[in-house]
């Protein structure tokens, strides 16, 4: 078999054939501080190179059309002036790791997002007029993500917070299993707006391994759907304020009535321990 091993001829599926941004001007039309990019046929890196080039030219509002699966959109936008932020509108289907390491910019998606939305996002906003795939908000450490519809497995996995930096994830629909898995910080709000009355959320193993942060869950869930590491509490006055604030923002983005949503029954899920597996692994 060894003579058949073609690893020597391995090609780079990400970078082979990537064109320099300077040669891609025909994909961009700029008008003052706005720009439009036609992403049809652009590779992952080419699109992100263009976004960066356009932002460096002083453009603050970028519309990207014909997006079909380009990954990492919005990453690498660390600009010389840290105060300068851009808004990126995406039509229609961004690829995995949308807004990875996002540095305070705002991304609005008019369509569905895939896996890894806001992976290790630092600051800014991601607003998705659709659903998102698995591991939404993975390792997120700041900023806000609003998703109108459902999310897949392991949303908010290992989300974290430190001092004043508290990430927020608001989901309008329901979630699949391992929701909030290994969560270490941050605020997650799951609204269940597309569930019928008394219909349970789809997620099981909610908050497995959770050891920080808080989940506010609107709608029904059976006890066996919760991981062993979370406890259920009533909302107090401060919790109500937090929920009202972020449900208000969510509703403004997607045109829901915040009052109606807040009338629903919420419960608060908290980790019961800061080190749930301390006794297993420590010796």
């Amino acid at each position: 078999m060894s003579n058949l091993n073609v690893k020597f001829g391995l090609r780079d599926m990400f970078l082979d054939g990537v064109r320099p941004a300077a040669t891609l001007v025909k994909y961009v039309s700029t008008n003052g501080t706005s720009a439009e990019i036609d992403a049809l046929g652009l590779k992952h890196k080419e699109l992100n190179d263009l976004l960066r080039a356009v932002a460096l030219q002083g453009v603050t509002r970028i519309t990207v059309k014909n997006v079909f699966g380009q990954r990492y959109i919005g990453t690498r936008l660390y600009l010389p002036d840290p105060e300068k932020k851009v808004e990126i509108k995406i039509f229609k289907n961004p690829g995995n790791d949308l807004g990875a390491f996002l540095n305070g910019h705002r991304i609005i998606v008019y369509g569905n997002a895939q896996d890894g939305v806001g992976n290790t996002m630092d600051d800014g906003e991601i607003i998705i007029h659709g659903r998102a795939g698995d591991i939404a908000a993975m390792s997120m450490r700041g900023g806000k993500i609003f998703i109108r519809d459902n999310v897949g497995y392991r949303a908010a996995i290992h989300m974290k917070e430190y001092a004043g930096k508290v990430p927020v994830l608001v989901i309008g629909g329901t979630a699949q299993d391992f929701f909030g898995e290994y969560m270490a910080g941050g605020i997650v709000i799951l609204l269940g707006l597309n569930l019928k009355e008394n219909e349970r959320h789809k997620a099981r193993y909610i908050g497995t391994g959770m050891h920080g942060g808080v989940i506010y869950l609107r709608g029904c869930v059976e006890e066996y759907q919760l991981g062993k590491e979370v406890g259920v509490r009533e909302l107090n006055e401060r919790d109500r304020e937090i929920v009202e604030r972020y449900v208000g923002e969510f509703s403004a983005h997607f045109g829901f009535s915040a009052d109606e949503i807040c009338k629903g029954k919420f419960q608060k899920l908290l980790p019961v321990s800061k080190r749930p597996y301390g006794k297993i692994y420590a010796y």
């Binding site: 073609v6 079909f68 699966g69 897949g152 629909g173 699949q176 299993d177 059976e222």
Partner: protein, 381 residues
């Protein structure tokens, strides 16, 4: 069965494979045949899920003129003429060959070390005690013989009215090499883009894996490969292709063709519900799933996986029960899609009626002339 006389069990386990591949499948549930354009463009869209060390296609409804004959598509490594002679001697002895030809290729496409690939349309030529076995079993045992006993010869596919085209390269290169978009039509296409990491990229190791008209494309790693493989050996299936996915093809042939189980049950064997969730099921369901776990424990497929399995009239997508690999389904009119990424579906069919992702371990079953794929919707997101 013939197999028992010919083969000793192989104790050496080749290294298994770790993969992060791209999958795509499309089926017209009205049975209308179409070209390879959608499959090729969709897999191109998720190019970064593969690394150019394997690509392959399975096409159903491929040979309407010879649909009553088994189409054996056989690869001869290093274009080994002696292997071809041996295979042909064997075929003449065991089959009536009604037609054979070299599978047309485009020599202008630069692929690594291409083998000779030949197709034979055959009917079983049974003798003596062979009459006691079904045609399908007869063909399986002869395929196993070629794969295990004739050096440099591997059967890509052996079903009727279908075929597998695969090799080393990005899938669009394999498609161009075999002229897929020019020469062929089918009502069901599945395609795979491979990312092998610790077994060689070689022509026989590309997906789809196939036996009879069953094909499997797979993303993930079957960590239960050793257990699955030994269990399948007890049923005369022999793994020769150095990749874990092979067990999945033989397992579906055993469970679905020979034992007649529906996919709704088979998916619970491959990806059984967790023990603690069984406690919350109806008594009847609980009993069924507990029984399946006990009877078919060695066919539990462990590790992260997404597969698209196809045979005539049916295609299904399934992930492991905690969904460590992605899948998205989509539908528009009579077209139903399964893919690793939603964008791959949207780029070939921008105005989908529906896009959904089933729960881990729940199959999306796409059947000819039915809307069964919608049954997976209620538990999906």
């Amino acid at each position: 069965m013939l197999a028992k006389r010919f083969f000793a069990s192989e104790r050496h386990l080749p290294d298994k494979d770790h993969e992060a591949c791209g999958l795509f499948g499309v089926m017209d549930i009205s049975g209308k045949r179409f070209g390879g354009e959608m499959a090729i463009n969709a897999i191109k869209n998720i190019k970064v899920r593969g690394n150019g060390l394997g690509g392959g296609f399975a096409v159903y409804g491929l040979y309407p003129d010879y649909k009553d004959y088994y189409a054996l598509q056989i690869m001869f490594q290093n274009k080994n003429a002696a292997a071809k002679e041996k295979v042909e001697d064997f075929l003449v002895e065991h089959f009536n060959i009604v037609y054979d030809e070299e599978i047309p290729t485009n020599p202008g496409v630069n692929v690594f070390c291409p083998p000779l690939v030949w197709r034979y349309f055959v009917a079983p030529k049974k003798k003596g005690e062979d009459h006691g076995m079904s045609d399908d079993d007869y063909v399986v045992s002869r395929v196993m013989y070629i794969n295990t006993s004739i050096e440099d010869a591997y059967v890509f596919s052996s079903g009727k009215d279908m075929g597998v085209f695969k090799g080393v390269g990005f899938p669009e290169e394999i498609a161009a090499y075999f002229l897929l978009d020019e020469l062929y039509e089918g009502y069901l296409w599945t395609v795979h883009s491979r990312f092998p990491t610790n077994t060689p990229g070689w022509w026989g190791g590309a997906h789809p894996f196939s036996i009879l008209d069953w094909t499997v494309v797979h993303n993930g790693e079957i960590s239960s490969y050793g257990t699955n493989r030994r269990f399948l050996e007890m049923h005369n299936y022999y793994c020769t292709l150095f990749t874990d996915t092979e067990v999945m093809a033989y397992a579906v042939d055993l469970l679905m063709r020979r034992q007649g189980l529906p996919i709704e049950v088979v998916s619970r064997i491959f990806a059984p519900p967790m023990w603690d969730l069984l406690e919350h099921m109806e008594e009847k369901e609980k009993k069924l799933y507990t029984t399946l776990r006990m009877v078919y424990a060695p066919l539990l497929i462990n590790g992260p996986f997404t597969v698209i399995v196809a045979h005539h009239n049916e295609m299904f997508g399934l992930t492991d029960r905690i969904r460590l690999r992605p899948i998205t389904a989509g539908a528009r009119g009579d077209l139903v899609f399964l893919s690793s990424e939603e964008a791959a579906i949207r780029c070939v069919c921008p105005d989908l009626d529906l896009a959904w992702t089933p729960r881990g371990g729940e199959p999306v079953v796409v059947r000819l002339g039915s809307r069964d794929h919608l049954l997976s919707l209620p538990e999906s997101v």
